[in-house]
């Protein structure tokens, strides 16, 4: 069930629509400080259903929408589309490809789509249940998480273990 494509538009620093096509192997993402690499990671977690703005480094959800620069005006919404290869049907959808869309408007309204069909957040989260991909996925190690794990107490470490396993 591999991730074929990521499309980001209006999410954090992605003022222009950006497409990243993935291969099955190891993809490295490089670039200077502050250019948007960790924002790519945030966009994936958000599209999978992450509900905590804080864990995405914002103080509230609206912080995730492109908020403008000296030369650009803020945008009215953020959108992320994840497209997965489903040819072996790892996901409970009868299609060779599954794309999951999440949109957030400045009004606070949120939209969720699976293969273009409107649905609710919980449908997106259920879709990935037991696949090893999804919110709280132990397989997404964000910047600084290793340090946090090192600082944590035995009880906190167990918390992370339980999330994963």
């Amino acid at each position: 069930m591999f991730l074929k494509r990521l499309e980001v538009f209006g999410f954090k620093s992605f003022a222009d629509k950006t497409v990243i096509d993935f291969t099955g192997g190891v993809t490295a993402l490089v670039g200077p400080n502050g250019c948007g690499k960790s924002n790519v990671v945030d966009s994936i977690r958000w599209a999978l259903g992450e509900q905590s703005a804080r864990s995405l480094r914002g103080s509230e959800m609206v912080d995730l929408i492109f908020n403008g620069t000296t030369n650009r005006r803020p945008l009215g919404f953020a959108e992320v589309v994840l497209t997965f290869d489903n040819s072996k049907r790892p996901l409970p959808v009868d299609a060779a490809e599954v794309s999951v869309t999440r949109r957030l408007y400045r009004t606070g309204e949120c939209e969720y789509l699976i293969n273009g069909q409107a649905c609710r957040l919980r449908d997106v989260r259920d879709l990935f249940m037991d696949t090893g991909v999804g919110v709280g996925a132990y397989s997404i190690i964000e910047q600084g998480k290793i340090d946090a794990l090192l600082q944590s107490s035995p009880k906190e470490r167990r918390g992370i273990f339980e999330e994963a396993a």
Binding site: M1, F2, L3, K12, S13, F14, A15, D16, T18, V19, I20, F22, T23, G24, G25, V26, T27, A28, L29, V30, G31, P32, G34, C35, G36, K37, S38, V40, V41, I44, G68, T69, T70, N71, R72, P90, T131, G132, V133, A137, Y138, S139, I140, I141, E142, Q143, K145, I146, L149, L150, S153, P154, K155, E156, R157, R158, F161, E162, A164, A165
Partner: protein
């Protein structure tokens, strides 16, 4: 549920013995549940002994050694519960070159069932990737993706 936790814990523990040994090229490490507490509540303790060194309290180990030990534990969990998709954001920052080489070698063992997205500033790590994408901000505050060949990495991206 008590059995389920214990079964997973024992599996991860066994994997950890192996991932640690592979990442450090020797030595040994272990995880255990805190003593005298209920299995469903006990915290998890980690002890480690890098190759050639004595067993010692984790705090005395170096920044790089502690990071690599945690990576070994994450790989041990990953092995017990594989995920098709794994993202690692700058986990290699404290590692020296030979540790990065071992890290990338172990990582490639997972490629049969998982795809990886690795964010890094380190050329060693980039050299092992199958594909490199660059993210730049040619216009201040606006991210843009660019294709990158390994030979171009360096000045060009840094000053973008």
């Amino acid at each position: 549920s008590r059995e389920r936790f214990t079964a997973t814990f024992e599996l991860v523990r066994e994997n950890f013995h192996e991932t640690y040994r592979k990442l450090f090229g020797g030595g040994r490490a272990d995880i255990m549940l805190e003593e005298g507490q209920d299995v469903l509540e006990a915290g998890i303790e980690v002890v480690a002994k890098p190759p050639g060194k004595d067993m010692m309290v984790m705090s005395l180990l170096s920044g790089g050694e502690r990071t690599l030990t945690t990576i070994a534990l994450l790989f041990a969990i990953f092995k017990a519960k594989p995920s098709p998709f794994c993202v690692l954001d700058e986990v290699d920052a404290p590692l020296d070159e030979s540790n990065i080489d071992r890290f990338m070698l172990i990582l490639r063992e997972f490629l049969e069932s998982s795809q990886f997205l690795i964010i890094t500033h380190n050329r060693r790590t980039m050299a092992t990737a199958d594909v490199i994408y660059g993210v730049t901000m040619q216009e201040a505050g606006v991210s843009k993706r660019i294709a990158v060949k390994f030979e171009e990495v360096g000045e060009e991206l840094a000053v973008a």
